[in-house]
Amino acid sequence: MKPVSVLVIDDEQVICDACQLVLSEQGHAVTLTNTGADGLAAIRQGTYDVVLLDMKLPDIDGMEILNTVLKEKFEVCIIVMTGYSSISNAVEAIKKGASEYLAKPFTDDELLETIGKVCVDTGQQSTT
């Protein structure tokens, strides 16, 4: 898979660290943020192919970030991470425009496969 740039927005440092390890080993560029505000600022400033977005953040609700990203028309794939394992929560996010969801807890393979899938779906991997 062609390397992509990934932004992780999660207040759990252990999840950020684990995602960074797994993704950077595969050659992906990883940026970590721990709050919704930082995450949103990073999206506005940078160019990311994929955002791994936790649905429950201390400052801004994940769904609100998703709405803002869609409203401001950033060309980025959003993968929502939900700690509730609640399909309805994830379905709502996907209906709004998120590309995929990951139900916590997940393995490294699930993470890589999901990123691979959304990149293929959006044509970011068409050259490979």
């Binding site: 252990v14 700690g83 509730y84 394992s85 609640s86 916590k104 393995t107 393979d109």
Partner: protein
């Protein structure tokens, strides 16, 4: 034969007592009227109404009339001495010799009270004793069969009202118990959802690091072995949490009209191999006249599978589990009974089985019955457990049929 005047008096007393019963005055007031009116109409010195305490098997005082406090409150009255024989349950026992009758436990006190004759009128329903009306007379006299019949009828009416109140109290206790149970489940559900969320985050870290690390270690090494265990156990935690969230999530059932017999057959199909391997028989007794009921097929299937697997765990190899479906057209309800001849559940543990994490199995999550309880609750159903240690357990679940016409057309 009673004279017309006497008959009129007896009729009036009977009417007053019946009115007191049907006009929903308190049980105590009914008893007071019974002892007063009965003693008056019989020209008796007094009367005492005793109720049989179902737990202690002793007679408690219900009401007294015309007797001194010292006599009324003297000691307990033992059941055995009053209950001589079931054949006497609907007969008046006449005691003329109060000094030598075994039923008179305090003859000296009775004599001092001015009592010379006693009538014991049992309050019974069928073969069940509910209490006793004792009538005290200052002088011995004879009673006509009509008078004795009058006393037995009054006593039977009293037994009926005691039974009615007892049933109402039992129902109230049952309702209170259910309400407490629901409240408990709801709080546990909320707590479970919070706990599950908090645990999922560290678990994601554990799973991501370990699943990543295992690819870097030498195959067959002790490190790989340890990591495999970490991954396996983390995944086990994941399934426990998923079960917990299932339980906590107030997921409304997607009800469509289903034949419960079809759902039972599907659930049995899922577990039949496990029964076969253990040589446990799984016997269906499905009602022929079943009507379709609004059910969430998947949820009910899950609930049935949980109960069937529990039954399988409870029985020895070559044990027996039966699944019965029933239709109660009168009450507009359908019922499912899952019975096993396994080890049974103690009365103490029966109270806990629907609580999350309660399990007697080493590898059980303790969530199966808690989830099942929630499913039944969401279908506005009831679940009852009947169990005897060493003999087996019977779960009875019933659901309402929204379609009021059994056998009629499918309703929404």
């Amino acid at each position: 034969m009673l004279s017309p005047t006497k008959f009129e008096n007896y009729f009036r007393v009977f009417r007053d007592i019946l009115r007191s019963i049907y006009h929903s005055i308190s049980l105590q007031e009914v008893f007071n009227i019974v002892v007063t009116k009965t003693a008056e109409v019989l020209n008796a010195k007094g009367a005492l109404l005793r109720i049989l305490n179902q737990e202690t098997r002793q007679f408690d005082i219900g009401a007294a009339y015309g007797l001194g406090d010292r006599y009324v409150t003297k000691g307990p009255v033992s059941t055995e001495k009053l209950l001589h024989h079931p054949s006497e349950l609907h007969k008046v026992k006449i005691i003329t010799d109060i000094w030598h009758a075994p039923r008179v436990e305090y003859p000296q006190l009775a004599w001092d009270e001015g009592i010379r004759m006693i009538l014991d009128v049992p309050m019974a329903i069928g073969n069940e004793m509910r209490g006793m009306i004792r009538i005290y007379l200052a002088e011995p006299r004879t009673f006509s069969p009509d008078e004795l019949d009058f006393m037995v009828t009054i006593a039977e009416q009293c037994a009926c009202i005691i039974e009615r109140v007892r049933l109402a109290e039992n129902q109230q206790t049952h309702i209170t118990h259910l309400a407490t149970q629901m409240e408990k489940m709801s709080s546990l559900g909320r707590m479970a959802a919070g706990v599950a969320h908090e645990i999922n985050n560290p678990l994601t870290g554990i799973l991501l690091f370990s699943s990543n690390m295992i690819k870097k270690v030498d195959p067959g090494s002790s490190l790989e072995k340890g990591l495999k265990i970490i991954i396996r156990e983390a995944l086990r935690c994941k399934s426990i949490i998923q079960g917990l969230l299932e339980f906590a999530r107030d997921k409304p059932p997607k009800k469509v009209m289903e034949d419960i017999n079809d759902v039972i057959r599907t659930a049995m199909g899922v577990v039949e191999n496990q029964f076969y391997v253990r040589h446990v028989s799984l016997e269906p007794h499905l009602a022929q006249n079943m009507v379709k009921t609004p059910l969430d097929k998947n949820q009910i299937e899950q609930m049935l599978i949980n109960l069937l697997l529990n039954a399988l765990q409870a029985v020895e190899d070559h044990g027996r589990v039966s699944v019965k479906s029933m239709l109660d057209s009168e009450k507009n309800r359908i019922a499912i009974e899952i019975a096993d001849n396994g080890c049974g559940i103690s009365a103490e543990n029966v109270k806990k089985i629907f609580e999350p994490f309660y399990t007697t199995r080493a590898n059980g999550t303790g969530l199966g019955l808690a989830v099942s309880y929630g499913i039944i609750e969401n279908h506005r159903g009831n679940i009852q457990v009947f169990s005897k240690l060493g003999e087996g357990t019977r779960f009875v679940i019933d659901f309402p049929i929204l379609d009021k016409k059994p056998g009629g057309k499918e309703g929404a």
